[in-house]
């Protein structure tokens, strides 16, 4: 794609085909007050075929947001509460002996759905996490000797609680990297808090309607990949990622001692796709640097490993990404 007319055609197409995103946001707004950032990131994950890790203290409507989204999109939804005694078979399924037939039959687990809510993913042991993360990566699971492909769309929205770390199994870095986005969910504002009070304590608790078909999501994914990205933006993305690996080369001397490992090439891929999806949500057929900046934190924060020195100075990966974004020249 290169001509002016083609961008205009794409703009028009996105305006038409992307109209359902406004309906989703409006419907979500019935049950979720505020949290626009979290909802948009969930949609970005949906449009990019990438999984999302939501981190926040209990009571911030993470679970409600995921279940509402699944209902609006009209796809099969499963919620799995991760606990220390969960087994991989509880997740992916198992072989059951059928006495009448004298043979084993497959009993599929809850992972056979379109949208999975993996609640408190860090409470299950490593073997369960591995089973789920393998399914996330491969879009398939093997039970016994048979391999089953998972339905499309297949989206895992996992939640974890940053407090109460006792008795948890923190996800290893290599596995966290499988998540396209790590979204930190914050508290609502004073005004939002008041609205929550009004809405949830009087009259009937609102519910959401089925509005969007899975085919709409598949078409949107197609469009997101068509969105035009200029070479300058691509260079900008690469510079941001490289700056996390070799900050000194970008004049970010402050970060040299703070980064143990920088972002992987997977970050480059996801940052590109997430920026396109962000442009799609803004109904644009091309990507602006603002799109990249808007999603960079969510794409990069879990892919940068700070050093011990950084931890001692209470410099988080968020701080590192923000400094890198400030230091890299915007095209």
């Amino acid at each position: 794609m290169s001509s002016d007319q083609e961008i205009e055609r794409l703009d028009a197409l996105i305006h038409e085909e992307g109209a359902f995103t406004d309906r989703i946001l409006a419907e979500m707004g019935k049950v979720i007050v505020g949290q626009r950032n979290m909802i948009e990131r969930m949609l970005i994950g949906l449009f990019c075929d990438g999984h999302v890790l939501l981190e926040g203290v209990p009571g911030l409507a993470k679970t409600l947001a995921v279940s509402s989204l699944a209902r609006i999109v009209n796809v099969r939804f499963q919620r799995i509460q991760f606990t220390p005694d969960l087994l991989p078979a509880d997740l992916i399924g198992t072989l059951i002996y059928d006495q009448h037939r004298g043979s084993f039959s497959v009993k599929k687990g809850p992972i056979f759905a379109n949208i999975i809510l993996a609640d408190e993913v860090n409470r299950a042991p490593a073997k369960v996490q591995s089973a789920m993360l393998e399914a996330m990566q491969e879009h398939q699971v093997t039970i016994g000797e048979e391999t089953f492909h998972l339905d499309d769309p297949f989206l895992v929205l996992a939640t974890q609680n940053p407090i109460e770390q006792e008795g948890t199994y923190p996800l290893p870095e290599a596995q966290v990297d499988r998540f396209m986005l790590k979204v930190v969910v914050g508290y609502p504002s004073k005004k939002e808090e008041r609205e929550i009070l009004d809405r949830m304590t009087s009259g009937q608790v609102p519910t959401v309607e089925k509005l969007v078909a899975p085919e709409d999501i598949v078409r949107a994914r197609d469009l997101v990949r068509q969105i035009y990205m200029d070479d300058k933006i691509k260079d900008y993305i690469v510079e941001i990622v490289l700056a996390t690996r070799d900050p000194a080369s970008y004049g970010l001397t402050e970060l040299v001692d703070l980064i143990e490992y920088g972002a992987s090439p997977r970050a480059t891929i996801w940052l590109t796709l997430a920026a396109k999806a962000h442009a799609f949500l803004r109904r644009r057929g091309y990507v602006r640097p603002e799109d990249v900046k808007a999603v960079a934190l969510d794409v990069l924060r879990h892919r940068i490993i700070p050093t011990y020195e950084a931890e001692a100075e209470e410099r988080t990966s968020d701080y590192i990404v923000e400094r890198a974004l400030d230091g890299i020249e915007v095209p």
Binding site: D230, P289, V330
Partner: protein, 328 residues
Amino acid sequence: MASEHRRRDPASVVRWKAQTLLSLLLPAAFQFVSAEVSDTIPSNVTLMALVDRKVVPTNETVLLNVLVEWQGPADRYRFGWPETPEAHRLAVVGSRRGSKSWVDEAGEHSRQEFTYVLQPQEVGQGTVGAVRLTYWDVADTARHSTTLMTLPISLDIVPSARSDRSGPWGDVAISLAVLAAAGLGIWWLRVRGRTGRRAARSAAPPVPDELDGRMRMLARARADGDATQFYDEAVAVVRIVLARTLGEPVAGKGTNDLVGLLEKTGWPEDATASLRLLLEKADRRRFAPSRPEAWELAQDEATVRGVLDLAARPADAPAAAAEEGNVQ
């Protein structure tokens, strides 16, 4: 010496020399016995390599300081680490990097400093090879890089018992060096007090050469009908003017941030409204293929020229530029 080539203004040379010496002497208070300086000087960037002593015992280390200095803001040039110098009879055992910017009557200056710790390996004549540094001007979209190189530095490596500082004369040398550093420090503070450093935003600067160059490229891009180049230059001009007006770096800011900064300039509302529109339109022109009409480019060029008028105006002057129609 680098400083002899660096500036033509003798007062600046003296100040700079003192500042360089102080940066080496005062913070670490290390035993400054002798130094060797070498450089290669292009137009605006100076590269220097210095060692903190000429004679080093085998059980001690020597510091190699590589200083890169230029006139202009810190983000004007982009540098990588200098190639680790080849050293004969010496091994590089550590390094660090620092940077600094300041303003005096000659304008804004910036410096990057790379320090290497060298450990002697054997007794004899040690040599620190040429230090090479590659940099490029961030304004140069083609990213033509320039490499600077220093001259080699030689020093004597002596057995640990035969240091030139051993014995009472070494202590005398140390004491003299500390006294000299203190004296230089007092002198420098007085000089600095007289020159009266000021904040970058304290006065509206005249339109400098960098902006002239940008405006020429912008006019050429308009004549060529190159919309992408035209809006690249237009945004660059707005960035430079905003950075100078507000005295804060804007390189890492996107369009939304720049639009937010317009509110802080105190410029007339119609001027900031026009600039807001220009910045928002520029993204469409720069990051997606487009063919704007010639009149549109002419109109936007006038808006950019209006920004220059606003920036050149004294801070307390009335908003004449916009009222006269310089800003669309």
